[in-house]
């Protein structure tokens, strides 16, 4: 592996917009779209319209928090039709390695070029807590499988495959989970397994994120993988408290809660906090972009990107 990011856009691994912009050294913006709990193409299109033009690629969540939703790949196909670039999310919770490799081929076959590999929230959090959690492979093994399919034209079994899926491979990282000192090592494992880019857990505790980034830099990982910092605008005090208490792996410092408590307009304060986080992470060496997850608040992404000075988005 090279010591520096490969900036030669002739050496693209997948050729996605996201990859091209990152290799050019642009500060990228990705955003997220949560598919509906129903068979509504229109619902996907409506959310996509709100986001179009305000980010370089758009994550389609894969039954997030283990709630059944319209599938990530199907949503991605709808976005492709609208001229938008999807980032397919794939968790290890609901499929074994046969189904996953099949879906990887399917996604690539449909023209999707970015894939985010996740372990997945435990099924107990969703609406089908009695479901069998599959976890045939974990996220690190999944990264390795996708990389092997793309770069070695081989299935996990070692059998050869004919047309490789050209995918820009993503992974998540949570700097706020424990044990803290292991988190950069875990990132290194993901990079070694095949991650080309990282989208982090939502950042509210910037200080801790900076500490993690310095460990990441000490290991030289910021030069081997593109790191996009995760941000989410808080809509209400209730949401902040809920995330602090109930969302696995979230770190919402007390001062954020206090600020919202003291604010007259909670939404406006939530947006301000988000903008401040973006401003701070932009300055951290090794951060290549932001990933804006406006959960069920997609319509706010234009305002955030505008006020953060991230518009217009560049043409790859």
């Amino acid at each position: 592996m090279s010591e520096e990011h490969d900036t030669n856009t002739n050496n693209l691994k997948a050729g996605s917009n996201l990859e091209k912009l990152l290799r050019k050294g642009e500060f990228v913006v990705t955003s997220e779209l949560g598919p509906p709990r129903g068979a509504s193409r229109e619902a996907v299109e409506k959310k996509a319209e709100l986001l179009k033009g305000y980010a370089d690629a758009f994550n389609l969540t894969d039954c997030q928090t283990a709630m059944v939703r319209l599938s990530s790949i199907a949503s991605g196909a709808i976005l492709l039709n609208m001229g938008m670039e999807p980032v397919i999310q794939m968790t290890c919770r609901d499929r074994n390695r046969i189904a996953m490799q099949s879906d990887i081929l399917g996604a690539a076959g449909l023209g999707m070029k970015n894939l985010l590999c996740l372990t997945g929230d435990h099924q107990c959090f969703g609406d089908h807590p009695d479901a069998k959690g599959v976890f045939d492979v974990d996220s690190i093994q999944l990264l390795d499988i996708v990389r092997q399919m793309r770069d070695e034209k081989k299935f996990q079994s070692g059998e050869e495959l004919k047309t490789e899926p050209r995918l820009f491979i993503g992974a998540a990282a949570n700097p706020f989970a424990d044990p803290f000192n292991y988190r950069a090592i875990r990132l290194a494992k993901k990079v070694k397994a095949g991650a080309d880019f990282i989208q982090t857990q939502i950042i509210y505790n910037v200080e801790k994120f900076e500490k993690w980034m310095s460990m990441v830099r000490d290991m030289g990982l910021h030069k081997k993988v593109f790191i996009l910092a995760g941000v989410t605008p808080i809509r209400s005090l209730g949401m902040a408290k809920y995330m602090k208490k109930n969302v696995p792996g979230m770190d919402v410092p007390d001062e954020i809660i206090k600020r919202l408590e003291g604010a007259e307009k909670k939404k406006a304060e939530g947006i301000n906090i988000c903008l401040e986080v973006i401003e701070k992470v932009k300055k951290i060496e090794g951060v290549s972009g932001v990933h804006i997850m406006a959960v069920e608040w997609e319509e706010i992404v234009p305002e955030i990107t505008k006020r953060a000075g991230l518009l217009p988005r560049p043409i790859p």
Binding site: T119, S139, P179, I185, R186, G249
Partner: protein, 225 residues
Amino acid sequence: MIVAESKPFKEIYDLVKDFSKICVIGCGDCVTVCHTGGQKQVEELALKLRIAAKRDGRELEVREETVLRQCEQEYVEPVGNYVNDYDAVVSIACGVGVQTLAEKYTPVRVVPGLNTTFMGAPVEPGLFLERCAGCGDCVLDETGGFCPISRCSKSLLNGPCGGSMDGKCEVSEDVPCVWNQIYVQLDKQQKMHYMDDIRPPKKWSVSTGSSPRKLEIKHLQMEKE
């Protein structure tokens, strides 16, 4: 040991509602240690069944028996002396014991009085915790003696997921994150390189849910004609 818990009494009572003569058979092994399937629990269950039947104005004769190990053919031999005199057997052994009786005394009805839950250990009085998933491919040498298959809610092989906080699993405050425990242990053992290694996808083909497994020890087997 195999850990099993009692089915709710109402469920057991409903299972035997069509019978007038039943035999409750316990086991002297694991489930005796669990206090769910030993001789004492046989007596208690038989008594409760008799009381419930009397309350409902039903005729119900209940015999009480306990065998030393219900999972072994030779230990259930004595059951043959009386089992055919009864309409059904309520076995309060693990699922292996239930099946040993059902196979040996076919077509006698054998119904389970326990839910077999896991392979585990008594860690303090009245508390049993899962310790082994019988996955058929042990990794405990690399994980400091803590099993990530049975003790990680996602059976992860490559370290703690993003839901590990303050040593707890994202699933519940009551569940320790085993990968946190492994991390601490390997640090003490100065074997942290095991945390860096990427473990490949597991061979689930030798685990439960693949196909029924067997163990053959050739020198103990009798020559087949």
